[in-house]
């Protein structure tokens, strides 16, 4: 309760600073949401440098549109919405020019490696469409509701449910596990 109240208070203050365009708002938003924005962006674009660019793009957009934020409690989902749209936009633009990576430079997954699951999940995630990754990133990883995710990605709720269900099924298939319905199992992206 206290943590929730404290978070609500923090978000209200950040939203107020943003609306007032106080210079310190940028640093505060970066500290509060930077890594989470980066995480969502990275899951969509699958590129670290692009993810950091999206963090900056997101805060720039938030700065320019802060006055349109009506509900202070929606600050986090609003930022993640902006981030996901920047990520999809960047992904769409960069599609024509993928960097050339020497396959020999990629680490080979090892069945004995403690990170075998990570390698397998990462490769499976790479193979998913960006829209599906966005749905998973916002709903399954960041914990936005289906309605919030649908609004963020401008899709119907049924589409989001379907994308998350199918996407997770493919990730599970990578681990050779049976699919299960979309549930409330969330991953906490590291937050500060």
């Amino acid at each position: 309760m206290n943590a929730s109240h404290g978070r609500t208070t923090l978000h209200a203050r950040l939203a107020a600073d943003l609306r007032a365009r106080r210079p310190e708002a940028i640093e505060e938003l970066l500290e509060a949401f930077g890594r989470e924005i980066q995480g969502v962006a990275y899951l969509i674009v699958r590129n670290h440098a692009d993810a950091e660019e999206i963090v900056m793009d997101t805060l720039v957009t938030a700065w320019g549109k802060g006055q349109t934020l009506r509900d202070d409690t929606a600050l986090r989902s609003w930022l993640l919405t902006i981030a996901s749209r920047h990520a999809l936009s960047r992904r769409r633009r960069s599609r024509q020019w993928q960097p050339l990576i020497d396959a020999e430079q990629l680490p080979a997954p090892s069945a004995h490696s403690p990170s075998a699951d990570r390698v397998a999940v990462a490769q499976a995630l790479d193979a998913l469409p960006a829209q599906v990754r966005a749905a998973i990133a916002l709903h399954h990883v960041a914990g936005l509701t289906v309605a919030e995710t649908a609004a963020a990605l401008d899709k119907s709720q049924n589409t989001i449910k379907s994308q998350v269900r199918d996407g997770l099924a493919r990730l599970r298939a990578t681990l050779d596990v049976p699919a299960r319905p979309v549930g409330g199992h969330k991953v906490d992206v590291e937050r500060t």
Partner: protein
């Protein structure tokens, strides 16, 4: 079992994200904000006045006083005396005047420093001139009422800034400002096309960029094409528009008909500056790491080099034999140093520390023009040495943001002129009337023995002449009684006043050479 394996997925995702290094700092975001809009910085600095958006040299087809005889009564006047003839007639300065996002376009007479005309414009506008210098093109990102986000391309008369034509630019950005610098306006060297790089957002956070192509003579938009990248530098050629992409080593080629017709290798790190070298007909592009590429009209690589550009070069400008760019310090959009290179061999010539940060630099003729961020001034510098020639103060507290180079065009002076041909030594005089391309009241005569045109040893012969090309047609009487004519090009040096098309003319109020009989 299922939740256990879901947990493995979650651990994998969590671990991947937790291992991501996070290098974004507030300064980096602020720098990005500065790119997106100057407003952030200016709010922080609490400046009441903001930004001259661009500065442009234009040629005005109006009467010009002889160089050095500007009207001293005008204000403001140049703060430094000009040691050589200016490259053009006037400077068009685009200023943003306050945080209400309005601005003005100001024409400054280059001789006197006087404000010749002003016009209110919207914020974040872009300015360019036709290669002939007889038209100004103004792209306004949103209107002077700050309520409309529609963009408008206006064609203006550079004499008085009256609007000649206008056209809307489709699908302009809405609801927020585009990134500063992504909007460009370029006129093709042959004057046939105007290329407008615009941004728009079909939905929040979804930024799109495109090129709208206009027929320069008729203005209505011909075609618009979406770019597959964020533009970072553009240069118009007669064959189309070359677009450098932010952080991408690719160039997009847009045809004069408005289609993407090619993708080419660009400078490493992505183009940060591009300029048109009129003397060679080549495009010059500079990458973020100093990679310089020179491309011919077919976008074939002519030569390339690696220049020492410091951290982040910007504001590339090219004259006939010089190349210059600003050297920025990290985290700053403005630059405080200018590096000058010989365009022929790309050897460094000079590096000059500026007294104050400059937003941008352009080349005009053999000169460079700097627009300073603070202090509201535009500075004309010699192209060969970067020595300051003249400074134009535009008002306290006004900040400059950009300078846009346009073609040197000295304009057609009016009045009575006198000159002497160095080839055959004859003297001639003629009158140029405003709006006329003919030379009237043309006379020629043989000067006295001292080659002084104020004396003569022959009759004064009335003849004809034309301005374009600048020739005199002199009748020649042959031995058999026939007559033919000889065209005498107006080249050579006679006086030290105005140099036009290779001929130096001395403006005189009246030519009345004293008569000295032929010995």
């Amino acid at each position: 079992m299922s939740s256990e394996r879901d947990a493995r997925i979650d651990r994998a995702l969590r671990g991947e994200l937790a291992d991501l290094p996070f290098g974004v700092t507030p300064d980096m975001v602020e720098s990005r904000l500065n790119q997106a809009s100057m407003r952030f910085r200016l709010w922080r600095l609490a400046l009441p006045l903001v930004a001259v958006a661009s500065v442009l040299f234009v040629a005005l087809m109006v009467a010009a006083p002889p160089w050095g005889i500007g009207d001293p009564s005008g204000a403001p006047t140049p703060s430094a005396s000009v040691g050589q003839p200016p490259p053009s007639r006037a400077i068009a300065v685009l200023r943003a005047t306050d945080v209400a996002e309005t601005g003005e376009l100001v024409l400054v007479d280059i001789w006197s420093g006087r404000t010749a005309a002003t016009m209110e414009v919207g914020f974040d506008s872009v300015l360019a001139a036709s290669p002939a210098g007889d038209r100004l093109y103004l792209l306004t990102s949103y209107g002077t009422d700050a309520a409309s986000y529609d963009a408008r391309l206006q064609v203006l008369d550079p004499n008085d800034l009256t609007e000649l034509r206008s056209a809307s630019v489709p699908d302009r950005w809405h609801n927020m400002l585009p990134a500063s610098g992504s909007m460009t306006l370029s006129a093709a060297p042959d004057g046939e096309r105007i290329y407008v790089v615009t941004a728009w957002s079909p939905e929040p956070g979804d930024n799109r960029y495109g090129v709208a192509v206009f027929d320069a003579t008729a203005t209505p938009v011909m075609e618009r094409v979406e770019l597959p990248c964020t533009p970072s530098a553009t240069v118009a050629t007669n064959a189309g528009l070359i677009v450098g992409c932010q952080d991408q080593q690719h160039l997009i080629e847009v045809s004069p008909s408005g289609a993407i017709v090619g993708e080419h290798a660009g400078p490493a790190g992505g183009a940060v500056g591009a300029a048109w070298d009129a003397s060679s007909g080549h495009a010059v592009l500079l990458g973020s790491g100093g990679h310089l590429m020179e491309l011919d009209a077919s976008l074939r690589l002519v030569r390339e080099a690696r220049l020492d550009t410091g951290v982040r070069p910007g504001s590339l400008a090219v004259t006939a034999d010089r190349l210059a760019f600003g050297v920025r310090t990290p985290g700053e959009m403005a630059f405080t140093q200018v590096a000058l290179f010989d365009l022929r061999d790309l050897e460094p010539i000079e590096s000059v520390e500026l007294a104050q940060p400059a937003w941008s630099m352009t080349a005009v003729g053999s000169h460079f023009v700097l627009a300073y961020r603070d202090g509201g001034s535009v500075e004309l510098r010699d192209g060969a040495s970067l020595e300051p020639i003249s400074t134009y103060e535009l008002g306290a507290g006004v900040t400059l943001s950009a300078a846009v180079l346009r073609d040197e065009h000295p304009g057609l002076p009016t009045g009575r002129f006198m000159a002497r041909s160095p080839i055959d030594g004859i003297c001639f005089a003629f009158t140029v009337s405003e709006g006329s391309e003919r030379l009237t009241d043309v006379q020629w005569w043989q000067p006295g023995s001292s080659a002084d045109c104020t004396t003569r040893t022959s009759d004064m012969v009335r003849t004809t002449g034309s301005w374009d090309p600048p020739v005199l047609r002199i009748p020649v009487f042959t031995m058999d009684g026939g007559e033919r004519s000889m065209d005498l090009r107006l080249t050579g040096l006679m006086a030290d006043e105005i140099n036009l098309h290779g001929a130096a003319f001395r403006r005189v109020s009246e030519v009345a050479p004293t008569f000295a009989p032929v010995p």
